[in-house]
Symmetry: C2
């Protein structure tokens, strides 16, 4: 099949010849295709580096936020109540979210899945079902995430270990000091499991200021000691945006040296890490949705072009090259952090792409146009924002 | 004409009987209407308290941001170059924006219009054309805005005065210290004209920290002295979000006492004023879009439900009553600040409303659903996001 008259991100015009689910050739633009894209922009698939498929309440009647305070700990408590009142399984709401994000062009994602002494491995089992159900449509990487802490939640370490055995891909972590009150105890647990199981790590770090940065530095030292260079990410890392530039710069050097990636969703109510400074020092900074209509946040919809806009808005990006950087965070760099092989628009690579009306990457980020087509392995899976596959 | 099966913002179900462009009655919900809304939520019209109809480049090919630095002054200089290169009149791009925002449900707006020694009154004349062209569709209040300063831009004070004579509704102002370097000189000029012409004032204040708050306090003192209580607004007021709570609280008291309103667009790269603290002290805080795809910002689309989301996201609002507050900022309170008479969904009032699929105001803000209908004076002017009137 030939998709004619495509504009690639570099501005060049081509016909995209697809065969056997892969891009067989990029030919001169013509009118001879099976489907005329009329010059529309063709983007590589979007990548969500941080989603919570098990938390979303998408598709259910509106659930008002019930947190009684503004701390992470208050939201953890509120969520435990929402979970207990749930009647629809996470596999259903998670599937609702997968369908919604695929229609916006996301074909790869890293989902954290809650594991704690209330849930055990229930949410993991539910999201494993989702992964299996959509395996031909989307890549779902699963992080075993100790949402209630590890040290303060006895039994969780064993559950995390079991989660990896049952199919989770990475170990998660959560504010070793702010939630668990035990930096070494928390990091001992997850680094031990990660080393034993040979998996990577992705730690949620909301703790701000110098205390937060100290934890990031401790994670980097552990990463070096464990030989996990390039396999560890810190999500949020608000702290890097709230300390003096000198300390952020020194920490950026350490992160680059240990290959630790930083995930930001462009937080609304917290400091955003200094994206450009981190990138200039060689740190991989990638994007993710974080919460989508769940017990934590009423906001979010999983559209990674909108997320790139939010990241750019919060980072005060205005120039085209800055918007292209925000776009890179939700495509190439996120794919790299997730270890997606064969990612990108290239001859011989998978025929996975997204078609939008926009003159450039910058315009696509700023205007977030409707997705005309989402193509997976050469098949049109969504058209004008509506899934056309089951 | 009867719109049947409407859900009002308070959750009650009614038929809306429209006659002579006004709401003739709110009747028990039935199936007897001319148009069945099927339980959809009916909202009062959206109000944009701060837009720049003359700045937008909407409808033109993408224009990359050209500012060479990150200060307000750098953006002013960059915009002067973009203006000089323009070939399409501001009345055309402004009309593009009016059409776009009416389709999202905005029926009232306050537009700042640039007036300086490069433009003279050209942009005012262009936007007066837009106001006339769309007079049956939308209320456009015009602020004569000294984008290049007053003291540092000789001749501007006389132009501002002339602008009011030619149809502008309010006097604008801009960072008396940060841009003009002359607090008294700047405020002398605009308060003198406002008093002589009997009009209100709306001052852009980007200056942050205690220096910014000092200017806000000076504006309040001037407002009191000039007898302009309730007729002055300060837009942005980032400073209120970047000083200790004690100073913000004291200033809130002064603002309430002098009836000064505060406009926030939920800034991405600057501090957001403490909305709840200000409201608790009786300050009217309202919302606006600010820049929409112009020489200042690549972002923005004029959708005030999206703007309410952005404001809520930046203010760390999560609870339903907080989202309802963000909604109030882009509806009732904005209408109050703009002095829109007869605003709101009430029997005897204008049949102006917006229909969306959402279970509540909170859900409407968080999800920003497509506007099924926009109704102005009883006529459907937009359907599913597309204008159906010329």
């Amino acid at each position: 099949m030939r998709f004619a008259n495509a504009t690639l991100p570099d501005g060049s015009k081509h016909d995209i010849e697809v065969s056997g689910g892969r891009i067989a050739a990029l030919l001169p633009a013509s009118d001879a295709g099976d489907l005329d894209l009329e010059g529309a922009l063709v983007l590589p698939p979007l990548v969500d580096g941080h989603i919570h498929l098990d938390k979303t309440l998408l598709g259910l009647p509106w659930v008002a936020n019930q947190a009684t305070g503004n701390r992470v700990a208050d939201r953890i408590e509120a969520e435990r109540k929402v979970r207990a009142a749930r009647t629809v399984p996470e596999s259903e709401t998670g599937a609702n979210l997968v369908r919604q994000v695929v229609a916006t062009g996301t074909l790869h994602m890293r989902s954290h899945v809650d594991i704690d002494n209330q849930l055990g491995l229930k949410n993991l089992h539910e999201i494993l079902k989702v992964r299996e159900r959509f395996r031909d449509l989307v890549t779902i990487q699963i992080v075993a995430f100790p949402q209630s802490g590890i040290v303060r939640s006895p039994g969780t370490a064993a559950l995390l270990d079991a989660a990896i055995a049952e199919g989770a891909d990475l170990l998660g972590g959560l504010d070793p000091v702010g939630i668990d009150g035990d930096l070494d105890g928390h990091l001992d647990a997850i680094f031990a499991i990660a080393q034993r199981r040979g998996v990577g790590i992705d730690i949620h770090l909301h703790d701000g200021g110098e205390a937060g940065v100290a934890q990031i530095r401790a994670i980097a030292e552990r990463t070096r000691a464990a030989g996990l260079k390039g396999k560890v990410a810190v999500s949020h890392a608000f702290a890097l945006g709230s300390v003096p530039v000198e300390l952020a710069t020194r920490t950026a050097g350490l992160l680059a040296e240990t290959g630790i990636a930083i995930m930001s969703h462009g937080p609304g109510g917290a400091a955003i890490p200094p994206i450009k400074l981190l990138r200039e020092h060689g740190v991989r900074v990638f994007g993710g949705s974080d919460n989508i209509r769940d017990a934590w946040s009423p906001f979010g919809n999983g559209d990674m072009l909108e997320r790139a806009m939010m990241i750019g808005y919060r980072a005060n990006f205005r120039h085209d090259e800055e918007l292209a950087l925000a776009f890179d965070m939700v495509t190439k760099t996120a794919a790299d952090v997730l270890g997606i092989e064969d990612y990108g628009l290239a001859v011989g690579g998978p025929a996975d792409f997204v078609v939008v009306e926009a003159g450039s990457l910058a315009e696509a980020v700023a205007t977030r146009p409707r997705r005309k087509l989402v193509v997976k392995a050469g098949r049109i899976v969504s058209k004008d924002g509506v899934l056309v596959l089951p």
